[in-house]
Structures are given as C-alpha cells and as structure tokens.
C-alpha cells in the first residue's frame, strides 16, 4: 500500500490499482457517513476530485493520485460507509491507470503525518 499527501492509498492488483481512503483520514473525519463515487467507465484525473466523503463535520473531496478509467466501484463501501476502515477491504475504486503521481511508502506516510 502506498499513500498520497491527500490521504488516498493505492495498491496494485494485477493490471489495475485499488484506491481507498487512509485510516488517518477516516479517523480525522470522525467517521464516514456517506461516500460519493464515480460510475464504472468514468475517467478520473490525477490531482482532481473523483468523489467526496461526508462526515458529521463536513464534505471532503477525494483527490485522485492517478489518472485512468474506473473499472469497478465497491458497492459495499457505498452501501455501508460507516464501516469503512483504512484496509484493503475498504477499497473504493479499481482503476485502469494511465498516469500516477509519486507516492509515499507506509513509513514515509507515517513520517508525513507526524509533520502535519
């Protein structure tokens, strides 16, 4: 699992990548109430919002660390967002990637979080 500064994790899964929201972000939000995700076949773009998460606090955009086409959306996360955790099971999208930003390793991400 590798991480973006916008708290999105990326994990390779064959020729696609899975992306999800980091545990840190979920706990910062105080729990996720609702997730808005793109549809299958939609194109998402590096640096742009591909959806958002709602918490009691606010609505936060999900900023994509990759460009590519959405292959699959995790309906379980959409249906029960409150059970979302920062683990692989809580992946949000599977994406066929055409471009990707430099990502942090887990240690680098932990160090980054401490710097915040």
């Amino acid at each position: 699992m590798r991480f973006s500064k916008k708290h999105i994790w990326v994990k390779e899964d064959g020729d696609v990548v899975m992306i999800g929201l980091s545990e840190y972000a979920i706990s910062e939000l105080g729990g996720v109430m609702f997730v808005n995700l793109p549809d299958e076949d939609d194109e998402i773009r590096l640096g742009e919002a591909f959806g958002d998460v709602e918490s009691v606090k606010t609505v936060s955009d999900l900023i994509s660390p990759v460009s590519g086409k959405v292959i699959e959306v995790n309906e379980e996360v959409v249906d029960s967002p409150e059970e979302m955790a920062g683990d692989v099971d809580s992946w949000m999208l599977k994406v066929k990637v055409s471009d990707q930003e430099d990502l942090m390793t887990e240690e680098e991400y932990t160090a980054y979080l401490q710097s915040l």
Partner: protein, 452 residues
C-alpha cells in the same frame, strides 16, 4: 343566434385556466371559463393532488411500522391497508377542493360553462351549439399521457385485465400501429390512479418524476415494484447528488431499477400491472391553429414546450392576463421550482451545477449535509442535504437542489434569493427559526460564502 360577449374566454379549467380567470377578475374583465370535465384539471384529479395524497398515505403506513421505536405500541397483527377506504378519502379531498374552486370562481363573477369548447374562426362554440365571443382567448387545455411510441414493442405475455379500466378495449396483446399505439396490459397514470387495489407487482416504464413518485408510493404500500429505463440513471436533467439520493431511497423502499433497457426487446411476464410513465403530450381544442390569431394565447401543459408543472402553468395563466391588460409591471418570469415527493421531498430551482457549466458559467457549488439537524434526527429522516450553486464571478446564487423533508416549502426562499439577486451574505444573515429544517439554509449559505 345570440352570442354572449366577454372580454376573455378561457378554455380549460385546470391550474393554468383557473389562475388566468382569477387574474382576469382582478382587472374586472368579464370572463367565461369552459371545462369539459371537472374544474381543477389534471393537477387536482389525476396529478399533483392524488399523488401527494398517496405519498402521505405511504408515509403514514411507514410511520405506523416504525412507531414502536418511539414508544408507541400498536397491535401489529391488525396493521393493513383498506385501499378502497384510502381512495374514498382521496375522492373526498379532491371533491372538496374542486367544489371550493367552483364556489370561489363564481364568487369572482366568472361564468363557468361545463362543456367541451372548440374554436371556429374567432367564435367559441360548445358541442351543444352555444356560441360565445371574446376579445381575447386563453387556451389552457392541458395535456394527457402520451401513447407508447412506435419503437417500443413491449411484449406482455398475459394482460391481467381484471384491474384495468381500458384494457378490454385494447386491440391486441402486442401491437405497433403508428397511428395510435396502445399495448394491451400497459396502463397510464390516469388508470393507475383509478385502481382501488394495491397491485402485488407493479412494473413501471420510465424514470422521470412521475415514475419515481409512483414507485415510492406503491413500494412503500407493499407492491413489488420494478422500474425499467432506457438510460443509465433515473431523473435525467436532475442534479447528480439528487439522482444518487433518490435512487438510494427507492432501493431502500425495495424498488428494483433496471437501466439501459432496450424497450424493443422488453418482455414482461404478465402477472403484474404495467405502468407507462414515459411522457405526456399537449391537448388542444378543435379548430385551434386553423387561423393564425393574435388574440389567442396558449398556456400551461397545452404548450409544446411546457415544463409540465402546475405552478408554472398557473404563473403562465396569470402572466397571459397581465400581458393583455398591459399594466406597467414588466413580467419577467422568474426561475421555476420543481419538486419530487418520495420518502422526503426533493426540490430544485434555477440551474444545476452541470447546467451552469454547460452554459459557460464558472460555477461553484457546495453541499451542506444535515447530519446535525435536530429535526432530521427527531423524525429519523436519514441523510438530507441542501446544495447551492453560485456564479463565481457575479457571486450570486444561481441554483439550489434540496433533499430533505419540507424541501418543497424551503425552496421558495432560495427562489426569492435567485430572482432578486440578493447578496448571499445578506441571505445568510436572516435569523431562521430553531429547531427547523430551514435553519440549515444559513449553514449552507455560510459554506458557500467560504468557497466564493
């Protein structure tokens, strides 16, 4: 023959027609109103009022099933619906409104002629042969369900004739005749509203407002409801967040939604009631359009490009009269509101974010989700939100989409802000009541201001 003469003749006694009549009375115009059926039109008898009544019944039924969590104990074994009784109450409400409407029109010195009217040169005639002359004519003859289009060969295996009024007259099980297409076993919204029982299974063709409202009502009342649509999602042209929310609410009510349907290949088992909610078409009186005539104005659903909304029909009826008396007030029609009633209310006004972007506006939007609203929690409404759209350059509100209980009432305030280009900071500063749904309009405006 002696012809009665009037300043204004109105053909059609629906929202467009009766609103025009009341407006004419304000200006002391002599006015005659023709209605071939019942005063109140589609809206009162086959549209807005019956559907909102049934939405209320569905909501009550749901509340009865959930009231124990509020400490109200009921004898669950006895919970059921006597739909004949339900429909009787509906008829009483509708009749009362129609009756009061008639009294009110008469009190405004408007002559009512209960007859089908048609136009011959500039004379208005009724089938019984009476003739009327008027300096101006308003056509407010409304609309009716459109026939199923010829590219659809819906195959209904076995039409369950028992519940349908017109089905016996429908010629064949499957028929595609370009003149007047009717598919046996497929009923329209008028026929569904005439039914005195809740269908066990209801299949709905179409995914517009009417389809969505009926799907929610009947699913909540216990029908197994399935929707078929051609496109990818329900509610074409509605805001994406609204579409997501309504889709989820229907699914929660048990509605199955089939997208990307090829209607030419659709095969329906035949043990269900099949409703076509695929569209409506205008109705015009005989003789209209034979001579171009600038004293005739068409308003409401009878117009080719109508919005198919009662309140817009009313506004058009009133505006047509004001135009005739040409008072100094310039009649710019404001933005219009539209609503959907499901488990909560949906209301939209002005532009959606996507529409704004499409016409080249640099749009900014925000969605305020009412997770901390006391009234939402008290009523256990679930996810509710207010979405606002502003023009980044003018810093004015240009649209709003709401999904929460009472959205249909709340949206008028936002329409006022849009129509009058009220400064957003000023609109935000209004002291709204607490606890209320509308107090979150303040929070939504604050959120928008931060983004602007």
């Amino acid at each position: 023959m002696d012809r009665k003469k009037y300043d204004l003749a109105i053909i059609g006694g629906g929202p467009a027609g009766y609103s025009a009549a009341f407006e004419a009375a304000k200006y002391n115009m002599s006015c005659v109103l023709f209605e071939k059926d019942k005063l109140g039109g589609t809206c009162l008898h086959r549209g807005c009022v019956p559907t909102k009544y049934l939405n209320k019944v569905a909501g009550m039924y749901k509340e009865v099933q959930t009231c124990e969590s509020y400490g109200i104990k009921i004898n669950r074994d006895d919970t059921n619906i006597d739909f004949v009784e339900t429909k009787k109450r509906e008829a009483e409400i509708v009749d009362k409104l129609a009756h009061d409407l008639e009294k009110n029109l008469l009190a405004h010195s408007i002559d009512i002629v209960y007859a089908e009217a048609y136009i011959e040169k500039d004379v208005i005639k009724t089938v019984s042969g009476d003739e009327y002359e008027a300096s101006k004519i308003i056509i407010a003859t409304g609309g009716e369900p459109a026939d199923i289009s010829s590219d659809m060969e819906i195959n209904v295996a076995d039409a369950p004739g028992k519940m349908m009024t017109d089905v016996a007259d429908a010629p064949a099980k499957m028929m595609t005749n370009s003149e007047n297409i009717s598919v046996a076993g497929v009923i329209n919204t008028n026929q569904l509203l005439e039914m005195r029982e809740i269908p066990e299974k209801l299949t709905i063709l179409g995914g517009g407002v009417t389809a969505v409202e009926f799907a929610y009502i009947y699913a909540t009342l216990g029908s197994k409801v399935t929707i078929f649509i051609r496109g990818k999602a329900l509610l074409r042209n509605w805001d994406k967040d609204i579409v997501t929310a309504v889709t989820q609410s229907l699914k929660k009510a048990g509605v199955v939604i089939n997208t990307k349907t090829d209607f030419s290949k659709l095969s329906i088992a035949g043990d269900e009631v099949v409703l076509s909610a695929l569209g409506r078409k205008p109705v015009l009186p005989k003789g209209y359009g034979e001579n171009a005539d600038d004293k005739i104005v068409v308003v409401g659903d009878a117009r080719k490009d109508s919005t198919m909304l009662a309140h817009v029909a009313m506004a058009e009826g009133r505006a047509a009269v004001r135009e005739m008396v040409a008072t100094s007030c310039s009649d710019k029609m404001g933005c219009y509101t539209s609503c959907i009633f499901v488990d909560k209310e949906v209301a939209s006004v002005g532009l959606t974010e996507a529409e704004a972007i499409e016409v080249g506006i640099e749009a900014i939007s925000c969605r305020y989700v009412m997770y901390s609203n006391a009234r939402v929690l008290i009523s256990d409404d679930g996810r509710s939100f207010i979405k606002l759209v502003a023009d980044k350059n003018t810093k004015k509100l240009i649209g709003a989409q709401l999904y929460c209980d009472r959205a249909g009432d709340m949206v008028a305030e936002l329409a006022t802000v849009i129509d009058n280009e009220i400064d957003i900071a000023k609109a935000a500063a209004v002291i709204r009541p607490h606890p209320s749904y509308c107090e979150d309009i303040t929070a939504a405006f604050d959120m928008l201001l931060e983004k602007l």
